[in-house]
Each structure stands twice: as structure tokens, then as C-alpha cells.
Amino acid sequence: MSERQRATHRTAAELGAAIATGETTSAEVTRAYLDRIGAVDGAVHAFLHVAGDAAVAQAEEVDRRIAAGEKLGPLAGVPVAVKDILTTKGMPTTAASKILSGWLPPYDATVVLRLRDAGLVVLGKTNMDEFAMGSSTEYSAYGPTRNPWDLGRIPGGSGGGSAAAVAAREAPLAIGTDTGGSIRQPGAVTGTVGAKPTYGGVSRYGLIAFSSSLDQAGPVTRTVLDAALLHEVIGGHDPCDSTSIDAPVPAVAEAARRGASGDLTGVKVGVVREFAAAEGAEPGVVAAFDAAVATLTKLGAEVVEVSCPHFEYALPAYYLIAPSECSSNLARFDGVRYGLRSGDDGTRALEEVMSLTREAGFGPEVKRRIMLGTYALSAGYYDAYYGQAQKVRTLVTRDFTAAFEQVDVLAAPTTPFVAFPFGSRTADPTAMYLADLYTIPSNLYGGPAISVPCGLSEGLPVGLQIMAPTMADDRMYRVAAALESTQEPRLADQTPEVTA
């Protein structure tokens, strides 16, 4: 294996250490990943923009900082791919929508600033469902991303690009965002680790809002420790985000290292009864989940069944709250100030140009959700829809609070089914929405949750989801790392070679 090939097979933690000791350089590692992108992204299409020379220049700058003795973090010099919903100064940011084609943000998202400050190198921007609305990347305006495990199948969504980039070794690390499962479900179906931190744990400043009260950025990686290290880089209070929590980031890397010892003695894991009873989960997914729970027991965890009676209402409540907020958040895309403008030939009135711009600029799922949300917030319907959904949200939160009085973490499958073939769920929106059945409750509650590979079903990855109380992100990393420690080799390292 050449040095360059070796770089793309190492974990981010290993790369960071090798760069810090001078064994390799950030520029060398960055070039290795750019080569890899060049070789396989034609088949995978994980990236909407590859930073190329800009990434190499940034890597060389980091190498100079390291050579000058600057004290940078453990991931300094390691490349990272960023979901195209986070603003990057002077680098195209489209949220995979035609309506933002050509927009160059004048500012970096806080997450991106923190990556740069810690010496991470932005490789490029990853594909996604338009404005993060979808579970397959089939709603990207720029064409879908393909799952490295089977190029005929979806990589999950909305953050399919970030997950596929990591799975296909086009990036050692990626940033995703999770509104109803958009980090975790792609993680599950691509055999990668995806963590949604506590809401408010990572700044949303510069994250193009889909649903403000639910959106949360987080790490997508091949190992639990890498996820924890990346979480520590991007997490923590940001005065630019009013909903950001003013408290230290939980010690997640320490928890991941502790979990890697494989000892879960004293940890109480709750299995949600209602999820087990829910129909629609594939038998292979259920089998992998049951095996993972058995492994946790073997590692010393105490597993009990808990009841969360309102979880079954989480999905419908989510599909009122998220579209309602999105209908307001996306109102600014009207062609007046930036991005696409359609039909402005000098003869048309303002309203007409706005209308034509939105008709041309938004895809079908975005339009569907804007209409749903506009309706749910309308006078006369507000109480029955948005208001009622907020009450359900409170009840779901109470279920979590009650459950966490009995157990330390909750366990569930991440998603009911493995990666599905392209086109198999686009005809029926509700069939697509079911992909987020198990992930949505944590978004409504605001607590952290992680998906860690736990097995295969018919040769495709299955994810185990660990949910923890708000600001107890460390717990889920510990349990996930313990499960990961039982896999040799790790599932993420078993991704088949992509043939271009």
C-alpha cells in the first residue's frame, strides 16, 4: 500500500497524531484525499464542490502553523468534508438547491470557523437532500449520492453526501446536520458513525435553517473516537446563537476512550418497548439490533425495557413542526437579494418574478413542505396543527425524562430499513418519512443520539442508535465505543471498494 493509500485508510485520530509528530504532513494527507475524491467521486457523487487548490493551500498553512510550534488540537491538519448547508466564506454554498446556485457566502458558519481555527482542512461541500429535506439525497437538485456499499442504493439523507464521503474514504471526517435523523440515518445505511449532539451543544450560526428548533450539526466519521474528537472541536457556547448552551462541552473523547475498553458494568440501557412493537422494521434490522443489545449485555450493561407511549406520535408531530418552521425560514429565498432569479425580463411584476423564481428554484419535496407548513400555521388551523404538535413535543420530552429516571441511555435501531434502491420510496412521501421513525423523538426532545454500525442485513449495514439525556452526550459515546470495540475489523472498514 502506497503512502497515499495508507492515508485514506487511517482514522482521523491516527492522521492527527502522524501529522503532529511530523511523520506526514497535512498537505500530503489532503492531497491523498483529493486524489481519492478524483478517483471515486464520479461514481459516488458525495461532493457538490471540491476545494482542490484551496484545500491544499489551507493544509500548507496548517503545516506552517504546526512547524512554528503552534499548539493545535488532536485533529490539526486532518481534512474534513462539510455538508453544503453550512456557510463557507467565498466557497459555494447551495443547500443542494437551485435557488442558491451561484451564491458565495460572505461569512463562515461558526462550525466552519472552529474547524479552521483547530487546523482542520475543508476538503469541500457534500451533497444532501435539498435544504436537508429527505432521507435519500434523491431530492438534491444536483443529482443523488450513491451508497458505496451498493451504488444502486441510496446513502440515506439528508446528509447522504457526508456519510458516503466518509464510507468511501473520500474524507476521514465530515460534518452533517440532523433535524429528524439526517446525520444518524445516513450513518446507519453507510456503515459509518453519525452523532447528533444535544440541541444547543453546537452552534447553528451559519447553518442554513430548515427547522430552527430541531436543526443540529454534528460529526460523521468511521470511528466513535473520531466522532468524539470532532464533536469537541465544533461544540461549545457561541454568543452568535441565542439557543446555544452556555456550558462546557461534555467530555466525549474521554468517554469514547473509556468505552473502548469494552466494559459497560453499571450502565443501564433501556430498550423502547413501543419501537420494538412498531411495524415496518425489516427482520434483518431487528435481528442486528437484538444481537447488538445482547452484546451490550455481555459487556456488563443492564438492559431493561422502558415505555415511551408518546413516541408513536413523534413522526406526525415532526411533520407539522418542521414544515411550519421551514415555511418561514425559506421565505427569504425569493430571488430579490441573492441566488437564482427567474423570469425577470423587465416586463414582469415583483410578485410574478418571485413566484417564477421559487417555481424554478425549489424542488418538489421543498415545495411540499413549504405548503404543509404554510397551511399548518394559517389562521384557523394553527391550534389544530402547529399548536397540537407542540403539545405532542412536550409529551415526548416527558417520556424521555421519565425514561432517563430509570436508565442511563436508550437503545433502538437507527432506522427501520437498510439502504433502499433508488426510486423505491419517492412515489410515496410517507414511505420516505418512515426512515426517520426512530430518530425523530430525540430531535423533538433535544437530547443527543448517535448511530454506530452494529451489523449487516443482507450484506448492508445496520445502525444501532444510542440516545442520552440532554448534555449527557458522553454517555452515548461510551456505549457506542464499547459496541464498536467488539468488532474486528470495524464495520466502517469493511466498505467494499468502489469501482468507478
Partner: protein, 502 residues
């Protein structure tokens, strides 16, 4: 409406059949150093689009952070209006499209305002009218559109529009009254007095420069009529962004007459927003509310609730400055004026000017005399408000001190004042430049007196023989030779002394 008396007649006619109901929404632009949700500066009149950032431009991904001074100002306004202050409240999004509103929603407050349920007393011609305050809430201003190419400067007929986002995100407090009923013929004056009182209060609080001409205080005026004795309010119109006290008054009067004509003819009032045209004194229809946007308010998820600590609110309450109404009562007593005198001062818009003149050293009586006399005459002639004259309270105080010091007499002082108004400088500068100072050199005066006596021996003889009143002729002669620049009293004393009387 050609004359005031015709207008009053029309109004009396309207009120013989209808009762008027008013509702006023006053927007106060706060004078915070930075905007409501970002740290951009708020300086008025800067080059377009120089005080902007991703937040106030509503760029994708940007998030708001509440300006704590804005919250404090809103609470202080609420306290001054005798409102309850919410212990917990939220911002809400008001969703509608407009090109100068960057996010296509306005961050405002809806059913959870920070201040609610207050009252304000205003005086109109000696009568006190209590105005109920429904709420005062925080929100952000929009950008400003300039419509180019049309005849009217309004969007209709324009070829293109320019948008300045410097104003986008400037903090506003919107103060909403409860329906104001029973004001009858005073309705226009009550509306004016209420807006003036709000303006004076926010200025006294120091939370706004309260410049109506710059739009930092502007009123939406709601007017409706209902048949006398009816229990249900009529359909209202809302005339937006009225930006002078005079226009507030004219808007109410115009709408009362207009609506009465429609109702008399069996028509119905369309619920709509209207625009007041300063030039014609008329309101013109705009957006019809029936077809207008459903604002789809919902709690702003990007901001956390505002929960002012009751102890802090108590501190703010204790630290409120003296409010205009209390100050008026106090100064009336200090100045020794009657209520009628004070009303004359109020009607002339001279209260603050007189207060400042007294503060600059003049006596209250002379300050009042100048502003309500000579200066009111000048203002009337020029068709402007007293405050718009190019003379300051400091000038008036200086002028009065020249009179008190014997350096100017009343007639000379009026001439000097005209010079100040003409921009010739301060009173002392005008006096010196025009060479009009009272002759106080007794040597020169004595010569003039002796000449006058010598020229009028028969008059002098009458005075010597005890007909003191005849001395007036000699005084007049001296004043003539000194071209009026002598103090008449001094001259008279000199003449009597010279002639050995007293």
C-alpha cells in the same frame, strides 16, 4: 377643507349622526447604539447599505441575538405608560413578503408582548382624556425602499426600486392603544395630543431622539365611525406611517368626514390600509386588508424567551426620570402660571423652549413673553413651528440678559432678535455689529440733555415750575438725538436732576 371653520362645521355635522372610535399604533425607533438583533450601528443618514451584516440582511444561516438595551428601553417605556411588565415573553415571527424585509418575516411579538395593560392621560383644552394602552411590544424595523421613475415616488408607476438595509433591524417599540371612544369633536386633537405625549415621554426617557421628521416616531391611525347609540364598532381604516403631529390630526379629521360621506350614501367602509398625502391633506387607499396576508405568527425559534428579573424591573421603575406630565405640573407652580397660561404654552408648542430658556438663565415671565409674543409672531409669519425658528433658548436668555443689564431696551431688543432670526449671529454679536447698544455714557447723555433744555427753554421752565409731566417732550428730544439708543428712564432722571426737580 378650505378653512378651519369649515372643517369644524363638517365635523359637527358628522358627529350629529356618528360616534368616532380611534386606535393608535405608535412606532418608536429606539436610540440604541446597535441594532435589535445584531451589532451593526444605527446612525441616521449614513450612506445606503453601509450599516449591514449577515444578520440584518437575513442571509441564509444568520441568527439573531437580542439587544439587551432594546429590552431595557421597551420595559422603561412600558413602565412610563403604567403597563404591567411580562415576567416571561417571547418574540414571534410575522410572516409576509416585502422586498425591503430581508427575511420575509419580521421578528416581532404577538400574543406575548413585554408590556401590556397601561394607561396615559392626555390634556386637550383643559380636559383630561385617559387613553388605555393595550400593549407595547418589541420588533425590528424593515429596510427602506426608494421607488424611482414614477411621478409620485410611490411604487405605483415606478420603473425600479432601490433598497437601503441600514434601517433593517433597527429596534422599534410599537405602542398600541385600546379603542378610544367618546372623544367626539376632540378626536383629531386627542389623537394629536396622544402622539405628542408619547413623543415627549420617550424623549424624556432618553430611549429615542423622537424625531418625527426622521421617522423615529410614526403613527398608524385607525379610525372608524358607528351610528350614535350603536354597540358595535364600524369598519376601520388604518392610515399608515403618519409622521407629523399636524398630519395625525388632519388624518383623523379627513377620515371622519370621508367615512361619513360614504356611510351617508349607503356605502360600506372597506377595511384597508391608507396613506396620508401631506400635500393634499387627503388619505388614499392602499392594501385591502381582506385580501392581505395571514401573518401566520408563531414563536420565534431562533430566540430564547425574555424573562426580565422582577428585581431589575423594580430598579428600572425606581430610576425613571420625571415624566412630562409631572414636570408640567411642577414647572407651572414654579413659574407661577395659571392653567390657562400653560394651555397657551402647550398650544404654541413652547413648553420645552421656555423650560430651556429658563434653564439658560432667563426669568420664566420674560421667557414666556418672548416665545409667545415676538417669536410666535415670527413663526406665524413664516408658517413654521416655534422649534423650527433659527433662534435657540440660549439666544433668548442672552437677549433678555442684555435687556436686564440695561444694554438694550425693548424696542432695540426686538430689532436684535430679528437680526438673530436672520442669521446675523448671537444677540450680543448682532447688537455690536448693528451698533445699537443703549447709550450709557452719562457724559454724552448730559450733553444731549443740555442741548435739549437749551433748545426748549419754555418747556424747561414749565418743568422747573412743577409740571413734571412736560419733561416727556425733553426726553423725546434726547431720544431723537441719540437715535433711540438711550435708556428713557435714565434720560428722564438726568433731565429732572438738571432742572433741579426732586
Amino acid at each position: 377643507m378650505s378653512t378651519a371653520s369649515t372643517a369644524t362645521g363638517e365635523l359637527a355635522d358628522v358627529l350629529s349622526r356618528y360616534e368616532v372610535v380611534l386606535g393608535l399604533e405608535v412606532h418608536v425607533e429606539l436610540g440604541t447604539r446597535t441594532k435589535m438583533f445584531c451589532s451593526c450601528p444605527t446612525v441616521f443618514g449614513a450612506e445606503p447599505n453601509t450599516q449591514i451584516c449577515p444578520v440584518c440582511l437575513g442571509l441564509p444561516g444568520a441568527l439573531p441575538v437580542v439587544n439587551a438595551v432594546g429590552v431595557e428601553s421597551a420595559i422603561r417605556i412600558g413602565l412610563a405608560l403604567d403597563c404591567s411588565i411580562a415576567e416571561w415573553c417571547r418574540f414571534a415571527r410575522k410572516n409576509y413578503f416585502y422586498p425591503d424585509m430581508p427575511k420575509n418575516f419580521q421578528t416581532s411579538q404577538y400574543d406575548e408582548p413585554i408590556c401590556f395593560d397601561g394607561a396615559l392621560d392626555v390634556d386637550v383644552d383643559g380636559k383630561t382624556v385617559r387613553i388605555g394602552i393595550e400593549r407595547a411590544h418589541m420588533e425590528e424595523d424593515t429596510g427602506k425602499s426608494t421607488h424611482v421613475g414614477g411621478a409620485t415616488g410611490r411604487i405605483h408607476g415606478a420603473t425600479h426600486s432601490l433598497v437601503d438595509f441600514n434601517r433593517a433591524g433597527i429596534p422599534l417599540v410599537e405602542i398600541v392603544t385600546k379603542p378610544i371612544v367618546g372623544t367626539g369633536a376632540d378626536a383629531p386633537a386627542v389623537a394629536r395630543a396622544y402622539v405628542a405625549a408619547i413623543r415627549d415621554i420617550v424623549r424624556a426617557l432618553g430611549v429615542s431622539d423622537a424625531r418625527m421628521d426622521q421617522g423615529s416616531v410614526r403613527a398608524d391611525v385607525n379610525v372608524s365611525l358607528m351610528p350614535i347609540g350603536a354597540s358595535e364598532f364600524g369598519t376601520r381604516t388604518e392610515t399608515k406611517n403618519v409622521n407629523s403631529l399636524r398630519s395625525v390630526e388632519r388624518t383623523v379629521r379627513y377620515e371622519m368626514v370621508r367615512q361619513a360621506q360614504i356611510l351617508d350614501d349607503g356605502g360600506v367602509i372597506v377595511q384597508e390600509t391608507r396613506h396620508f398625502n401631506e400635500a393634499t391633506g387627503e388619505t388614499v387607499g392602499g392594501r385591502t386588508k381582506e385580501t392581505a396576508t395571514d401573518y401566520r405568527y408563531f414563536p420565534e425559534p431562533d430566540l430564547v424567551p425574555v424573562a426580565p428579573d422582577p428585581a431589575w424591573v423594580a430598579e428600572l421603575r425606581a430610576a425613571l426620570p420625571e415624566l412630562p406630565a409631572a414636570k408640567r405640573t411642577r414647572l407651572r407652580a414654579e413659574w407661577g402660571l395659571s392653567e390657562l397660561d400653560m394651555q397657551a404654552i402647550d398650544n404654541a408648542g413652547a413648553f420645552e423652549l421656555i423650560e430651556a430658556t429658563v434653564a439658560a438663565g432667563a426669568g420664566p415671565e420674560s421667557a414666556r413673553k418672548w416665545w409667545l409674543g415676538e417669536l410666535s409672531r415670527h413663526a406665524n409669519e413664516a408658517g413654521v413651528e416655534l422649534s423650527e425658528l433659527s433662534v435657540t433658548p440660549a439666544h433668548v436668555a442672552e437677549l433678555q440678559s442684555l435687556v436686564d443689564g440695561g444694554r438694550l431696551n425693548d424696542k432695540l431688543a426686538r430689532g436684535v432678535l430679528a437680526g438673530v432670526l436672520a442669521g446675523e449671529g448671537t444677540p450680543t454679536e448682532v447688537m455690536t455689529a448693528r451698533g445699537v447698544e443703549v447709550v450709557s455714557d452719562t457724559g454724552a447723555l448730559t450733553t444731549a440733555v443740555d442741548e435739549a433744555i437749551a433748545a426748549n427753554p419754555d418747556v424747561a421752565e414749565k418743568v422747573r415750575s412743577g409740571k413734571v409731566a412736560a419733561a416727556g417732550v425733553l426726553v423725546g428730544a434726547v431720544m431723537k438725538t441719540t437715535r433711540g439708543q438711550a435708556d428713557a428712564k435714565t434720560v428722564r432722571e438726568l433731565i429732572l436732576g438738571r432742572l433741579g426737580v426732586q
